[in-house]
Chain length 294, copies 3
């Protein structure tokens, strides 16, 4: 599974912002043809896509690069997909993904493209409508190898059902939990909601921590300052790595003595806590090799 | 979709309480043949229904009028439905609605009645059993034009699964969220749980606010004093309307300049927040025309 | 439905711990061949099962006795089941139960065993994987008479989806709620997650209270000191029983006067609150007759 702790958006009609991507250490980036780009600018932004992507590749953009198309049933979606596939992007993001049929139109095109060009381009679906949440289990089963993961869009979701957002977020807990669970059951990546209060770093940290607790691997970012916060929130901390290593050690020592349960730091530890500790150490290793370019 | 911010119940065997309905400004009212009326009084209360409804209509009851029948598999349900359809009510409420088959018996009768009399009588289903929650997605798809909406009954639900109610309400968050999500995905109205502590206005406000955040459009009321609280909780506040209007203005101005994302009041605003602001202004308009009798 | 407020685990390779079971007042006990027993000890522990069970029966173990087998697709599962069925246990617990097919292999064997020996041995399934949660509604419908109940395994679940546990537990609220709801809709017992911080009694109490609010009937215990805490948390308190009795009395008196709704202790009380009060009194009676050996 790809490592996407942070995924920064910039509007496709703002080449000035898109071309700043190489400055940042996000794990992934998305050029946004959907909500970030006004209707009047969508055609010209799409036309400018090849040039922008080339510039980013020339400048050695380190993270994964995505194009967010317009929503499946819009008049733009098909042209967005075609345009994105003519550039060396890693994947596309499809907003307001709501039905298996919509998903399959996209994954079929990606599969056909891969068969023809030999280049694997993946899809991350934004689940952010009431219908999308209801269909999420079916979608994660139907997507095939091209379907890399899902992202939960809390703002669109709550708008769709007519609710209100709070900082605590209980109003989206059900949908947010259901999306990550469906994704993980299918072995797909799951990326968490944006946090729109861009000057509230503590709020971002709390929201990111909650997402990580739920099983998300990373978070969408709407401002560059959120990238480092996301990378940190979705990386094991030094303390966590240390505690995990000690837990593994203690558990292995106990196992040699024929015990499968051991008390460690006040907790009764058996297989699930051991596996969690190992996953933390393994993730820390992946992050470390990515950061050091290994 | 009908506007139901508040829905007041009165027992069908208490004509004295039912006949007070015209005094109150609830958006909807329900004459309750189910739990509010003891078994020994059900037959006589049902017999009295035409007279009560006539009295309410004569006195110019302004809100929508419903009859809550007994539960689908009770011996009373059929007679309750027949009796209700012989009066000029707007709709029926069906308690403990749990299966598509039960729902269809009712909606088929309503459809047949509509074809015969030309009068559209709708159904609001109370989802308040474990089985009802599990079947809610299927039910909202199967109900047809006669199925107007669902209401979530937290007290019956928690009794059914053997849990306990708390003021915080985490024990019903899953079911409450699932019901509103299913309803909104199908374009149906969703009405929130009652609040039984009838002297605790602050508690009511918190519970109502949580319901609105989740996407409910209104709340069932078990005492007249809860009506104004519900109407207020499910109406956009003056501050909310004002902030929404300014957000729309700022966003439209930015769009003219070719921007699809704009910072407003510390938030990164794009399409979903714009749509939410528009929905608030539109709802405020509907409430205002209702209140002024326009 | 069986009364299981507390269910204590001990590793199958630790006869010294298993043989202490008769000292404790847990409603149920489980000899754990899975995570509690290291791989290297599993075969010998299984071989020792008949002797351990005999010893427990001879010493007059009062609670129900279960054997936790290894997970359905492990190489041990079949042999564990066969070994357990050759002893006078009440039931088996199957960890990481995730699919209807896995469940049916076990229940078919139990059914066949019952037909042959005339002895009913039940199954409690641990739902503790993402896939298990997604399939829980299907599983509770498919299990037949041998399927007695489910237990929710929060630690394994959160490990499986890659999340993190917190004391507040919002990260498992969705899965925990979904599992209990599915179980209760099918009339099955539902047993709540373990609490691994074995020295934190207040934390245990809070976690148990939350589980009871959600509809669970009891809790798995990983240390003997948790048994009394669980028994207390899942028994109605004296105050609760007293308030329930008074509510029933007041409601019955009102009903005689033709009222189906009554205000009691600041709450508007009708049928669901009455039924809940009756369930509390009935549960208190069952617990009391169990405790007094009646």
């Amino acid at each position: 599974m790809r490592l996407i702790r942070s995924l920064l958006f910039a509007p496709a009609n703002r080449a000035d912002l898109v071309e700043k991507f190489p400055r940042y250490h996000a794990d992934a980036f998305a050029i946004d043809l959907e909500d970030g780009t006004p209707e009047s600018e969508k055609v010209s932004a799409r036309r400018d896509l090849p040039r922008m992507v080339s510039t980013l590749r020339e400048r050695g953009l380190s993270g994964q690069l995505f194009v967010r198309t317009n929503e499946p049933r819009s008049t733009h979606a098909e042209a967005d997909l075609v345009a994105a596939l003519q550039t060396p992007v890693d994947g596309i993001m499809v907003p307001k993904l709501s039905t298996v049929a919509d998903l399959k139109r996209f994954t079929a095109a990606l599969k056909e493209n891969e068969a023809r060009t030999g280049r694997a381009v993946g899809l991350i679906g934004l689940v952010e409508t009431a219908t999308g949440v209801i269909n999420v289990e079916d979608m994660v089963c139907a997507g095939g190898a091209q379907f890399w993961g899902v992202a939960f869009g809390a703002e669109d979701f709550i708008t769709d059902i007519g609710g209100r957002r709070t900082t605590e977020g209980l109003e989206v807990l059900y949908a947010r939990s259901r999306v990550v669970l469906a994704a993980r059951a299918a072995g797909l990546a799951a990326i968490d909601q944006v946090f729109v209060n861009i000057r509230d770093d503590d709020g971002f940290r709390r929201d990111a921590a909650a997402g990580r607790q739920l099983g998300f691997m990373g978070k969408m970012c709407v401002a560059p300052r959120q990238i480092d916060l996301a990378n940190e929130a979705f990386s094991p901390s030094a303390d966590e790595i240390d505690a995990s290593r000690r837990l593994i050690q203690v558990y292995e020592a106990a196992r040699v003595e024929g015990r499968g349960v051991v008390e460690f730091a006040g907790q009764m530890v058996d297989a699930p806590l051991l596996r969690r500790a190992r996953a933390i150490v393994e993730l820390a290793g992946r992050i470390s090799s990515r950061t050091t370019g290994a």
